[in-house]
Amino acid sequence: MSNLLNYIHFPIYSVMVLFLGAFLIVVLGKNKFLRHLIAVLAAGISLACMIALIKPVMLNGEVIAYWMGNRVPAGGYAIGIAMEVDALSLFFGLLISTAVFVSCVYSVQYMSHDENIPQYFTLFLMLAGGVMGLVLSGDIFNMFIMVEILTFAAVALTAFRNKVYGALEAAFKYLVVGCMGSTCILAGVIMLYANAHTLNFAQLSGIIPGMMSNNSVKIAFALLFVGFSTKAFIVPFHPLAADAHGAAPASISVLISGVLTKSGIYGIIRLTYFLFQTMGLGSFQFLLVFIGCVSMFLCVTMALAQHDFKRLLAFHSISQIGYVLTAVGLYTAIGFSAGIYHALNHTLFKGLLFLAAGAVLHETGTTNLDELGGLSKKMPHTTVLFLIGAFSISGIPPFNGFASKWMIYQACYEKAVESGNIGYVLVTVICLVTSVLTLASFVKVSQSVFFGRLPEKYENVKEVPWGMRLAMGMFAVLCVITGLFPNLVGKFLTHPAATAAFNANGYIDAMMGEGYASSALGPFMNSAQNVVFYEAGVWSPVSWLLILCIVLLAVTIVAVTGKYEKVNALATGEPDAKHALFFSGEEAVYSQVGGSDLFWGFKHNWRHYFSFMHDLHSGILNDYALWAVVALSLAMLFMLIVL
């Protein structure tokens, strides 16, 4: 029995328990209590398994190679199916299982008004299991299978509330373009197999870098790259994400933005850092940084033009993924750790924001920014939690978005100086400007949803149930913790993961036996980079704490000593004129600036750009498919010319 509790089994447990839960809910899901218990328990066990692996994998630097049925490699050939967990996989596994767990807790009360809840939880756990399987797998065909499972579950869940405006449409578009991506992945996998005659990821990583002159390998790379890009929703696949996030239930939006996109990023990292090992090439760094910057800027401007809360968040999601991709594409230790730190933070704050959007939807029945307003008096907790998320994503110190963005700027600018390439200065500027535009759009959201005037039809809105607030609170606490203690995050999570990413040989050797990497790769072996970490700036919590105390004190003083008069309600129920709003003598006709017109001064100067972008995102499936095919062709051309 104790043998089964050995930590080497934990990866398979954390995947299996989710799938097992999915099947159990199909059987036992009629009972409400049992259904919720199974779902939360499955997500919880999965998270616990991941946390238990922190010590051996992150701190001791072990790489867990787990062969199904103990079919270890024979004669230098991997025969069995394997799972491989290094620090990078575990990092993504951890953030995924955290998001899954919190979202699961939230779902329990959030979905209570819907029909077919057992099916929801089954699909939910399938999606979670698919993503976990993807990041923990050590076999490229299994990665494909998991990609299919998660695409399927995500599509079904997007269409789950099929009465919602546009849900079916979003699901169909996502299905078609997503399956084009999956087809690309499958074709890429099989072309690699044709060249290397193995499907094991580590062995492929040992063989493929030596074959890069072969054209079919280059094509395979392009196919896989585009395939995983569709999963990460980076430009030009961002319209799908926007549609899908907007239509899906909020708890699923959390998974799509926090988990699905991360799995795509994970795939891209595995391809570029491990399988093909092309990150050393300047042109390849340029590719990733370019895509990242375009995603970052284009999506943040698209977000500024949105009228729907969740659709706006969806565009921000891609914008933040752009940050991650840019930082990862720099190919420096600090850049990489900044990138995955931002990935972690993005999961936390975007999860929080989506849950807040879900709370608003749950209570008011709409997410249209032009209809909402003034909810802060009715939903004070949700407002505070939303503000924490909004400050985090806009990078306001001391929340977590600031810590990671700070590192990203530092990394970009250092890269610019090191490489002497002035283009990276532009990258830094784009990063910083995107950040302030992000802030602007969250000012817009808070003004038009939580502050401003409360429309009369929402007079009876109440705070959401405690279970949903609990889930949001978990994300909020994590946002603050990861923002205040970047050193701890670095020590336990990002630095080991970054070290692992720069140590492809260690990954190969752990799987295929010591010395395999050097013998297989031969002259193509990149010596493991010496990864040096330093803090981009030291954050001293003590001085912040002092300031916080003084602020609290000052607020209390002002609040207590201020002279207040009791508000005298008139007989009509209206407040007296003194405490009413000032309308400069006009009749009290209220006209709020609509959410989408809030930044008129900015938009006016960019009107041609905005109208062009609006026309470009036509919503026609054929256009999006065309973008995908063009992206694929460009990727193939790029690979053939550059590599």
Binding site: G374, S376, K377, P380, L387, I396, P397, W406, Y409, Y413, E414, V417, V425, T428, V429, L432, V436, L437, L439, A440, V443, K444, S446, Q447, F451, G452, R453, G537, V538, W539, S540, V542, S543, L546, I547, V551, A554, V555, V558, T561, G562, K563, Y564, E565, P575, K578, H579, A580, L581, F582, F583, S584, Q592, L598, F599, W600, G601, F602, H604, N605
Partner: protein
């Protein structure tokens, strides 16, 4: 024992110099001087220099009227948070060779902390639910976006210029910039930094909401916009924040471009900094304030993203090629 002592010293920094007290007095003085100078330029007598101080205490004695539709917590907390952020920046800005909180002093941090006062004002205004505040906050946010690009470019240019000179690639630390200037003289006298300095000076009126960039406040048009519903102590704190922001931005200018003229004696250095701030205020802010009329918000945006950013970009490119 030493922990307590350090904490006390920190507390002293936060509360007295260069924290709250220093900010309070110098900010108010600067504000008074600015008003006086503008009045003289317009051939008016103008208020006494201590007028902002009198206003502050008078406002503190007034009743605070919280509108019934407002979110009281946010309404009351916003001014304080904004002020605290300004004080924090002041703690990070080196006074020649002295920095209260060393190690935290980084240009990027300052850039982000500079957002907080405006942001606090925006959220406070949003919490009142007033339509005037709605228009005001919209314009304030656009002003922030406008000023951000030139500021970023200026900071990157300075970082690169200092990095070039001391041969370590790039420097974002304000302390290192101060140390560099102490050895090699002011950055203002470097040819490549002059456009950046001008760009920074032009952003000061925008950040502090002076003419012609005061579309967000526009008393005659939208009743002071974001402050429309504020009264009593919170309003006093806002007025103080505006004054402190003037001090913060000018002393940041001094730290970035006019460093290296210190004497090493803290008190004297503080006075010299203040003197420079006054000079900057008189020569630039007051002059622009007195001689221009309000721009429309879209003109403001265009101006900052073309003219001022262009200046800063020239500086960055010059610094890049080591001039």
């Amino acid at each position: 024992m030493s922990v307590i002592l350090n904490a006390l010293v920190d507390l002293g920094y936060i509360l007295i110099f260069p924290g709250f007290l220093f900010c309070f007095l110098c900010g108010m003085l600067l504000c008074g001087i600015e008003r006086k100078i503008v009045a003289r330029m317009q051939k008016r007598v103008g208020p006494p220099i201590l007028q902002p101080l009198y206003d502050f205490f008078k406002l503190c004695g007034k009743e605070t009227i919280v509108p019934t539709v407002a979110n009281k917590t946010v309404y009351l907390a916003a001014p304080i948070v904004g002020l605290a952020a300004l004080v924090v920046i002041q703690l990070f800005i080196p006074v020649f060779n002295f920095t209260a909180f060393a190690g935290n002093a980084d240009i990027i941090v300052v850039l982000y902390l500079l957002l907080i006062p405006a942001l606090a004002e925006i959220f406070g205004a949003a919490a009142t639910g007033s339509p005037f505040a709605g228009v005001g906050l919209s314009r304030e946010m656009v002003t922030i976006i406008s000023c951000e690009l030139p500021l970023v470019l200026v900071f990157l240019a300075v970082g690169k210029a200092v990095g070039n000179a001391i041969g370590s690639g790039v420097v974002f630390s304000l302390q290192t910039i101060a140390a560099y200037q102490a050895e090699n003289g002011c950055l203002l006298f470097k040819a490549s930094m002059i456009p950046a300095a001008i760009a920074f000076l032009l952003t000061i009126p925008g950040e502090t909401g002076m003419h012609p960039f005061d579309a967000a406040e526009a008393e005659t048009e939208i009743c002071e916009g974001m402050l429309a519903e504020y009264s009593g102590k919170p309003l006093a704190v806002y007025k103080l924040s505006h004054a402190v922001k003037l001090l913060t931005l000018t002393s940041l200018f001094v730290a970035l471009f006019l460093g290296g003229l210190g004497t090493g004696i803290l008190l004297v250095d503080g006075l010299i900094t203040f003197f420079f701030c006054v000079v900057v205020i008189i020569c630039v802010v007051a002059l622009i304030d007195a001689s221009t009329a309000r721009l429309k918000i879209e003109q403001l945006f265009k101006y900052y993203w073309t003219v001022v950013s262009g200046l800063a970009a020239i500086s960055l490119i010059l610094a890049w090629f080591g001039l």
